[in-house]
Symmetry: C3
Subunit: 276 residues, 3 copies
């Protein structure tokens, strides 16, 4: 069954998502439409890239991903289809693809050109659904466009290596549903520079010297409950997406707060690791 | 595959939506259930009609739409099925159908009467799912009800033509996920009265004299970025649903605000077009 | 078609839900994945149990339910599969199953043990999807685990019978999307103790002596509209899940408020019924 995913900043209240799904099903009745997220911040390319990058790899090759953020066509924002890693992305050329594919090279990049279709204010509905259905039916990219060379490059924050390899200086790139704070320091980078040394991670006033593999890594189950670390304690871990993340164990964002509010860490803030 | 859509004010947290989907799948395992919205304001018929009206037309003929807003049965609020435009709507007779079908005449209207089924406080679960599955299986309306003549008429705001056709006075009917302000002035009405004249649109203190076909219509890409209009500037456009809409270009509702908050425009407020 | 449901505290913004769905579809392309809720309060076992208990029964036997709340494995929180009532639940042994199955005895309880799979910080993705797909394909529980005896018991508030059966003292267990207040007093308990007597229900300063079968049960349609009870009036009803619930008729939580805010009733608060 052809899978088409949706990642947009449409929200879930308006008619936008329903209209897009109806149009896809009118074109390709057997399509299996999967929502990745419709809660991307408006026009927030970075957020869109982070979420889609960490979701698309779980889907089987052959999946088509519609990216509905900042998708109006303009002389500076073409409509494109990109084949990466067996997945097709239908998107505007606003840089989101370069962030998603920062570690893999696109195999094909096509500019979408469909004759006699007017792209108005809702190109996801008018254009992207047609392209996604065409690809899902096994159609060739040559039919709906032409090869394109000018894929827009957008650079996200990159961690910096300082003090002759003794310091990694990273940034907060995402705050999740639990208020957990995700940095751009990947486990592979951390391990590459660590060389068996101890370290201190500093994020504002929080200092940690262990990075766990799971959230409950901070709990010592050999101790009595009263003596253990537990709910409310800060920790760092390598999260499931491979990044270093700061969390408050079992915290409720809506009542006591999460790592972001309790540790005072916002998007772009610095997180530093000093090897000792 | 039989498509059944859901438009309700249930929200996405409680068990309501899950229970409805489980019941449909128990009755019709091959049903393709599509959420249009579960974030309609409680009992808000106007909002429900606006969203469903602009979504249902994208679905293929034969789709059954369950309308789960203000659906308790009473002597003044019968349960009905309406066939319009190849689509079936299963709803209460609370006026929502008259708002959705203001431009098309229903082909069939039936009152739902299922013997031995008690309609309690959750008729979408107990009644509407049964009716939707019956229709999706190709069942006749005669089996689950009888022809009904008393379809409730509800009038939405209508734009008024004033000053011998020199003024159109409309109202805000919806504020979307971006804070964009949708008026009830349709493009067709505007064009019918314009007769090639210039115009000034007035919405509180905002005055505009161009209506674009896309959001980035305000951007003059021939100019340098510093000299262009762009993010943060107000504009009017004919939106994808055919209405005149006021927007702030690329505005983020959660930080700086949207057209609604920045231009001070709320539901029912007046938007006037004066032809010059 | 194999149905797999999801009930989690992941929220709908992050990549979590999309990644889980992609993984399931990679393993079992014909899976029909249904969201029950992703808005459970973080680590809120009681809320999760209330919602899932009232949703799962609507699904056909053979459905597999993934429970993604507080699911990290630990010496005190094993991963388990439970067969109840023809439904399989894949969960952590955190007590949620005992709350869901308080009225039915599990037929099978297995501890999940999959060799060579590392359960990190995202066990729903790494473990639960594999188990759910295995069961949906008709696989035996013996292949992915072993019988387990230590199902964690968690007791929810239970209503107390006082004054020699003249009083039922219950508690608020849930507040829904409309602000309606659900108590733990089931209709069956109420009827068992009533014995034809009149009663007064007391919830803070609110006193009611009728329990309706639908929300509009308080409306006397024989009276003129001005003389009727209607929108804004408080009522009690037996809700569709079988519990006594307090509501404000047709109230809008986001503007005037709901029963919770207007009657001052929060989670755990006492609701008393005195038979007279």
């Amino acid at each position: 069954m052809a899978i088409i995913t949706l990642t947009t900043d449409f929200g879930l209240k308006d008619h936008f998502v329903g209209a897009v799904k109806g149009t896809i099903l009118s074109n390709l009745p057997e399509a299996n439409i999967v929502d990745i997220s419709h809660a991307i911040g408006p026009f927030n390319i970075q957020e869109c890239a982070y979420i889609l990058k960490n979701a698309y790899r779980s889907f089987p090759a052959g999946t088509v991903h519609i990216v509905g953020v900042d998708s109006e066509i303009s002389p500076e924002n073409e409509h494109i289809v990109v084949l990466v890693d067996g997945h097709h992305f239908v998107s505007a050329n606003n840089g989101v693809i370069s962030l998603i594919t920062s570690e893999v090279k696109p195999e094909k990049v096509f500019e979408i050109q469909i004759p006699n279709v007017d792209s108005g204010s809702f190109p996801v509905l008018d254009i992207f659904t047609q392209v996604a259905c065409h690809i899902s039916r096994g159609g060739k990219l040559e039919v709906i466009g032409k090869p394109f060379q000018a894929l827009k490059e957008l650079k996200d924050f990159e961690p910096r290596i300082l003090n002759e390899g003794r310091t990694i200086s990273g940034n907060v790139i995402y705050i999740d549903n639990y208020g957990n704070v995700v940095t751009n320091i990947q486990r592979s980078l951390f391990e590459a520079y660590r060389s068996g040394r101890n370290f201190e991670m500093v994020a504002r006033t929080t200092k940690l010297n262990t990075i766990h593999k799971s959230y409950n890594g901070i709990v010592n189950y050999d101790l009595d409950r009263q003596q253990r670390k537990g709910p409310g304690d800060a920790l760092a871990l390598f999260n499931s997406a491979g990044y270093i993340e700061l969390a408050i164990y079992k915290s409720d964002l809506s009542s006591v707060g999460g790592a972001s509010s309790l540790l005072g860490l916002n998007y772009r803030d610095t997180v530093t690791i000093n090897f000792i």
